[in-house]
């Protein structure tokens, strides 16, 4: 087979083809109208970073959390703003002046619960002391404060007596912080807190205004994470432009035809517009995870568009006119295209088994996007080429390349020969074994400290590290809700058991400290008995208990006294740590069963992450089974041969194994962000196999040998497959630079999977086909010479 111009009959026009091309003008108008309408809708899509959507809402832990969400709010939504001096200590008049201004400034930012704000400049922060006459105390800032040396010394004394060192004042006295509780709903306007705006206000009114050579401002808290996430997500828009430019350049280099490059680009952009428009129409938004979908839709659109343009050009070069060339291109590709896109779409739909709203939204968005590509890139694109044709220059380039063997063809054909086939499969087996071994070390959940959504070296995480280093409380918080009958949360028997529980948890590896109403009561007991530690115990007398917690901070029990949160501070939020905590909570409940008291898990960021991990751990297997079942079923339906299915699916499994090994190596955990990527990788990866195999089958049916058939397939689609792999990879590779850690992780993984899948298809499909003895027997023998 010297000449790659093997031509097969183009077959008869299908109903779909006739419908499309007979009424192409009508279709064009229709597409234009729909695009305009959906563009209008797409413009209204808003970023949506709802916390609730990122967690498995039906998990037991989350249900428990929802039940008491309002009661836990006092613990929850607050930010901490630290003011650090780089010169001397905080007991300095200038520094104190800035701290006072920051405190005032913060209390005027919309969304702040003004009455609960705390810093050493707020009157609710007091010191107290037992004297011979009883308790004495006062605000930490002396009434007579005037910035003089004496009043600063008085302030120092008061701070030491206030018990706020490690809390509001750093252990090293070089910074102090303002604790700022937020109101989720504005009490005046009833509006939901706008995290993006709030975060911007913090930056503008506090950080920018007060930072100087000697003053650093650190800000941490959930609201800041969300604000940074939204801000980071907006940068992703830039990536999209970047990906478009690169893709256009690549399309041009590939085709040397501006016209067809623009056609492919436009159709793919139209697909994205449709997808976003439909998302808005069904009342959904775009979250930091589903932001990936427009990239995917664009890249998948381009890859299918390239297949069609590739075929149109080949047909034009063969002498067909622009109408016939487009019709033939559609005729030759629509089955493979539909199969590939269907497997994509259904593959994405399998993500619906994961009970986390952002993943479901991502699945829906991606499925819609792929369905849209069927119309825009299989439908609209050939109509456009039938009108616009391809450029002369592109045709000439195509013509000039026609007789030279394309490097893709030359490189990969040999994998259909025995020695190379054996070699490729052997190497893959070794790699797969390694991958399986390495993949065992894959971890569930987030592994980095601080806010795992953001990069470890992000401003936020640096601030967070500063807080962890200089103040006492950890930011990884696991809350157990001690549930009792109404009014019984501080009954002695319950308190005694909670006390024991607390000590049990304080002895678990990874736990730093445990705080609750019991702790407050014991502190109160010692406090009211002249600070004597000999009283540091829960008293059996309910009146004494009541008295002991009279000074306790709010939020340690709910209004009807049926729930007391037990706050467990952890070293980190690694899956192992969380698992251990969950197990120990269960172990305690088993050891001390009681009707009166339930230790319900879990709230706090670590508690929610524990639930998410559990859901993801089980969903990972489930999802893989689903996505592979769907891919296998679709391939079986299309090719009706088990050997074919093996040839297509085994390379995909290889990629899955290798990507798990990659995750283990790079320390990327299986989490909300990376779980869908595994399914996306399989769903999209199967496209290559389907395109290559459908062309091989054409040749095999004509009685050609495996080697000849593969060379034919490579000539017809090999270039396009190689190009597709690269465009897909580039589309998502821009994400590697996202300020959002999980988007970067998604980018790394998808890039890896797209390229690995492409190579797997080009190398392993012929190799496996050879080993599985696909193709005519006699013809196979003759191929050794080639």
């Amino acid at each position: 087979m010297s000449d790659s111009q093997v031509k097969f009959s183009q077959g008869r026009a299908s109903v779909a083809e006739n419908l499309l091309f007979r009424f192409r003008a009508g279709w064009l108008v229709g597409f234009a109208v729909i695009t305009a309408f959906l563009l209008y809708n797409a413009m209204q899509v808003r970023p949506d970073a709802s916390f609730n959507k990122m967690i498995p809402e039906n998990h037991e832990f989350i249900q428990n959390f929802y039940q008491y969400q309002d009661d836990l709010s006092a613990l929850g939504n607050a930010i901490r703003v630290s003011v650090e001096t780089t010169e001397g200590t905080i007991f300095d008049a200038e520094y104190q002046d800035i701290l006072r201004q920051v405190t005032d400034e913060l209390s005027y930012i919309a969304g702040v619960n003004r009455s609960q704000i705390r810093s050493i400049w707020t009157p609710n922060v007091r010191w107290s002391e037992v004297t011979e006459e009883g308790f004495v105390g006062g605000p930490v800032i002396p009434d007579s404060y005037d910035g003089s040396q004496e009043s600063l010394e008085q302030l120092r004394q008061n701070v030491l007596r206030s018990g706020e060192v490690g809390n509001l004042v750093a252990n090293n006295f070089r910074s102090a912080l303002v604790y700022v509780p937020l109101s989720e709903i504005n009490p005046e306007t009833g509006e939901q807190l706008d995290y993006a705006e709030f975060s911007q206000n913090l930056e503008r009114l506090v950080r920018e205004q007060y930072s100087s050579d000697t003053i650093n401002i650190q800000i941490v808290g959930f609201a800041k994470v969300v604000g940074d996430l939204i801000e980071g997500a907006n940068q992703v828009g830039m990536f999209f432009v970047f990906a478009m430019i690169i893709t256009f350049v690549m399309l041009f280099l590939y085709s040397r035809c501006v016209r067809s490059s623009l056609i492919v680009l436009s159709c793919s952009i139209i697909a994205v517009i449709w997808q976003l428009g439909i998302i808005h129409l069904i009342g959904s938004g775009i979250n930091p995870y589903s932001m990936l979908v427009p990239f995917l839709v664009f890249a998948i659109g381009v890859s299918h568009g390239v297949q069609i343009i590739n075929a149109v050009m080949a047909n034009r070069a063969d002498g067909a006119d622009k109408m016939l060339a487009s019709r033939y291109a559609f005729r030759g590709l629509y089955v493979a295209g539909l199969t590939a896109l269907a497997s994509d779409a259904i593959g994405f739909t399998t993500l619906m088994v994961i009970d986390i709203a952002v993943i479901k939204e991502l699945a829906i968005a991606a499925s819609i996007g792929v369905a849209v590509i069927v119309l825009t890139n299989l439908g609209l694109l050939p109509i456009l080429t039938s009108y616009l044709d391809v450029s002369k220059r592109g045709l000439q380039y195509q013509e000039s390349k026609r007789h030279a063997k394309h490097p893709v063809v030359a490189t990969f054909t040999r994998f259909a020969t025995p020695r190379w086939a054996m070699g490729a499969v052997a190497v893959s087996l070794v790699l797969a074994m390694f991958g399986l071994w390495k993949g065992q070390y894959q971890e569930i959940g987030d592994l980095d400290s601080g806010a795992p959504e953001l990069r470890p070296d992000s401003r936020y995480n640096l601030d967070n590290a500063f807080m962890v280093e200089n103040y006492s409380a950890s930011t990884d918080i696991f809350v157990v809700m001690a549930e009792t009958q109404p009014g019984q949360c501080i009954a002695y028997n319950n308190m005694a058991l909670m006390d024991r529980f607390q000590w049990h948890m304080e002895n678990v590896d990874g736990v730093q400290a445990v705080r609750s109403i019991v702790y407050a009561s014991k502190m109160g007991m010692a406090g009211t008995n002249e600070g004597n530690l000999k009283w540091y115990s829960v008293n059996r007398d309910d009146f004494v208990i009541n008295a002991s917690i009279s000074q306790a901070p709010s939020g340690l029990m709910n209004q009807e006294c049926s729930m007391a949160p037990i706050v467990i501070y952890l070293n980190d939020h690694k899956a192992q740590t969380l698992n251990r905590v969950v197990e120990e909570v269960r172990a305690f409940s088993t050891e001390f069963p009681t009707e009166e008291l339930d230790f319900l898990m879990a709230a706090g960021n670590a508690g929610i992450e524990a639930a998410t991990n559990k859901v993801i751990e089980t969903a990972q297997i489930e999802m893989l089974i689903w996505v592979y079942s769907v891919v296998i079923a679709l391939c079986l339906l299309t090719f009706r041969s088990i050997r074919t299915v093996l040839c297509i699916v085994l390379p995909l499994m290889f990629t899955t194994i290798m990507s798990q090994a990659l995750m283990a190596t790079l320390g990327i955990g299986v989490k909300v962000a990376t779980l869908p990527v595994i399914a996306l990788g399989v769903g999209i990866g199967v496209d290559y196999g389907i395109y290559i195999y459908s062309k091989m089958r054409e040749a095999l049916r004509e009685g050609l040998s495996l080697l000849e058939s593969y060379e034919y397939a490579l000539t017809k689609t090999g270039k396009a497959v190689g190009f597709t792999g690269l465009t897909l990879a580039i589309g998502v590779a821009t994400w590697i630079w996202s300020p959002i850690k999980f988007q970067a992780d998604m980018g790394i993984l998808l890039t890896f999977m797209f390229i690995w899948n492409m190579l797997g298809a080009l190398i392993l499909i012929p190799a496996l086909a050879h080993l599985l003895r696909v193709g005519p027997k006699d013809a196979n023998k003759g191929t050794d010479k080639a």
């Binding site: 011979e132 005694a496 024991r500 600070g531 004597n532 000999k534 115990s537 059996r540």
Partner: protein
């Protein structure tokens, strides 16, 4: 007296049993949890006999250490907060705790028995009150004149009120913590606690009787600490500056003329036989005449001083809140103040070896190296 003890023991064991069956969990009877971070729990009591050091604290935790070896956590049949440890001899150790718990070990701390618990103590207290009530009634009958009878009547009224309170307390359960134990010999010992509780045993702790009436303490101030000197005098150191002394082996106590109205948390005798008491807001007093008169010392701190020890060289070391440690030169009586880096309340200090000290407090068992530079 003996039959009372037997009866109360029987009653108590019955009530204890009922308590265990009725509740899932009771700190008095639940064994102390073995904890990998036992040393980091809240530790209150600290003592030493020859080569052995003992530390007691929250959740019934008892740790012992032989010489330079590691701390060992003992199996302890209670989970109450333990407040102090007292050696009778190398093998016999007594520990006081919350909810009226007294523990005894006869094998140098390897195993422990509960010798008294709060449920028993509630019964002992009720019996004691009723017995006093009966005594008063006979006195009223035997009264020689109306004035004497009226005086007894008045006392009886008050006592009846206390009996009622004790009966109510039976429902609430034991709330009174014991703070210290002291034995004068193997058989005879005292325990003190909150609300003026003074207990005595004559049979090595098998039975205990309330003898609070021996103290002139009508306000029932908390009794924080027991100390004895070489002469065998027993001192009770108490809340609100109350100090009591017995020179007849505890048969009677005398209220001393206190130099201070704030609470005392501890006391000790130094190498020169002086009696030290210390407490609230850095107050330290020394008596050269066995407690008859005191003079105030400057401690350089306003933090409470909760515990103290005598160093081998005669230096007195006191430990208090916010990691405060005050070293007093035994000759000049001048104070040098240091701050332990933990900054937590300390309740006890012991010289371990040379310049190393063991501290106990809210940070658990801690170490302190003899300071070179005093804190500001």
């Amino acid at each position: 007296m003996k039959w009372i003890a037997i009866c109360t023991a029987l009653l108590a064991s019955f009530s204890a049993h009922a308590q265990q069956a009725g509740d899932d969990y009771d700190v008095i009877f639940a064994p102390s949890p073995q904890a990998q971070r036992a040393q980091q729990g809240v530790m209150v009591g600290l003592n030493r006999y020859l080569d052995q050091t003992i530390v007691v604290g929250a959740f019934g935790t008892i740790l012992t250490k032989q010489g330079e070896q590691d701390w060992q956590q003992a199996e302890v049949p209670t989970s109450v907060l333990l407040t102090s440890a007292h050696y009778v001899d190398a093998n016999t150790i007594w520990v006081s705790g919350h909810d009226g718990v007294l523990l005894r070990s006869q094998d140098a701390g390897a195993s422990w028995q509960r010798m008294l618990d709060g449920f028993q103590l509630l019964n002992i207290e009720l019996e004691w009150l009723q017995e006093r009530e009966a005594t008063l009634l006979t006195r009223i009958e035997d009264a020689e004149d109306d004035d004497e009878a009226a005086e007894y009547e008045f006392l009886l009224d008050e006592l009846s009120f206390q009996v009622q309170a004790a009966e109510i307390q039976q429902d609430v359960g034991p709330t009174k913590p014991l703070f210290d134990v002291l034995f004068t010999d193997a058989e005879h010992g005292f325990a003190v606690g909150a609300f003026g509780m003074l207990l005595e045993t004559h049979d090595g702790g098998s039975s205990w009787a309330i003898v609070s009436e021996r103290l002139d303490n009508p306000t029932a101030f908390h009794l924080n600490k027991l100390v004895s000197n070489d002469a065998g005098d027993i001192f009770v150191i108490a809340e609100a500056g109350q100090l009591f002394r017995s020179d007849d082996n505890g048969a009677s106590f005398e209220l001393l003329d206190s130099p201070y109205q704030g609470s005392f948390f501890g006391g000790l005798f130094d190498q020169q036989g002086r009696f030290w008491v210390y407490g609230l807001r850095g107050n330290v007093f020394v008596s050269e005449d066995n407690g008859d008169t005191f003079s105030a010392l400057s401690s350089n701190t306003r933090y409470n001083l909760n515990g103290g020890t005598l160093m081998a060289d005669g230096t007195v070391v006191l430990a208090g809140h916010s990691g405060t440690l005050v070293f007093f030169d035994q000759d000049t009586l001048e104070a040098q103040r240091f701050e332990h880096s933990s900054n937590v309340p300390l309740s006890g200090v012991l010289q371990d070896a040379g310049s190393e000290f063991i501290l106990v407090g809210r940070g658990g068992v801690m170490q302190f190296l003899s300071p070179q530079v005093p804190a500001r």
